[in-house]
Subunit: 104 residues, 2 copies
DNA sequence: TCCATTGTACGAGCCCGGTCGAAAATCGGC
DNA sequence: GCCGATTTTCGACCGGGCTCGTACAATGGA
C-alpha cells in the first residue's frame, strides 16, 4: 500500500539558480545530466559511474530537489528526465550552454 | 621591482565547464559576477559583502582561475571584468541564463 | 509466497572549501 | 623615504558534502 510518498519536486517558482548551479557543479551529476540529455530518459541504474549505489541515490536526490531533473517511479525502477521547460523558462540558455561544453 | 607575477588567467581552451559551474555556485561569487555584469567593471573593494578581505581575495581568485573574470591591476587596486567573449564562445547562453535568474 | 532487482535510509568517515585574523606585500602620494 | 590604502599570503578552524557499507523497503515475476 504505502501512502505513496510521492517524490518531492520543487515547483517552478521555487527553483533557485544557486541550487541549480551547485547541482550541476559536481562531475558525477554533470555526467548524469549529460546522459539524460543524450537519451531523453534513463533509469537510475543504467549508467556505470565510479560511485556506489547509495552515493548515486544522493546525487539523483540533489538533482531532483534542486529542480534539474524529474523522477517518476516505473516498477521497481525510477525514470529520470530533464526539466527542460522549467529550466529554459527560468534561466534561458543555461542548460544548452552547459550541454554545449566540450566533454574532455 | 617585483618581476610582475602577472596574474594568471587560463586561456580560452583551458576553461572547463566544471570549474565555471563550481565558481558560479557560491552565493558570494554569484553576487560578484552579477555586480560586474551590471557595472561592466569593478574594483575588488567596492562591493560590501558579508565576508572579510581575505575571503574576498579567495573568491576573486576562484573566479579568475576558473576563467569567469579577468583581473587587471590599476594602481594599488584591481579591476575585474567578465570574460564574456570566451564564456559565450565556449558555453553559449550559460552566462546570460545565470544573469537572467531572479535575484530574490 | 519466495526471490531477484532496484533503489532508499542510516550512520560514519573524511576531505575540500569557505571563513577568519594577523602579518606582509604592492602601489601612489606627499 | 614614509605613510595610507588596497590586496595578498599564511595558518588555522570548521562545517558541509561526497563517499561508503550495511540493512531495509518496494515492486514485479516465477
Amino acid at each position: 500500500m504505502s501512502t505513496a510518498t510521492a517524490l518531492e519536486h520543487p515547483i517552478r517558482k521555487d527553483i533557485r539558480i544557486e541550487g541549480v548551479l551547485q547541482a550541476l557543479a559536481d562531475p558525477v551529476r554533470l555526467r548524469i545530466v549529460r546522459a539524460i540529455a543524450d537519451h531523453g530518459e534513463i533509469a537510475c541504474g543504467v549508467l556505470d559511474l565510479p560511485v556506489s549505489k547509495s552515493t548515486l541515490t544522493h546525487h539523483y536526490r540533489v538533482l531532483r530537489e534542486s529542480g534539474v531533473i524529474h523522477q517518476r517511479p516505473v516498477g521497481t525502477s525510477k525514470v529520470n528526465s530533464l526539466r527542460r521547460e522549467d529550466l529554459d523558462a527560468l534561466f534561458p540558455g543555461l542548460l544548452d550552454g552547459v550541454l554545449a561544453a566540450p566533454r574532455d
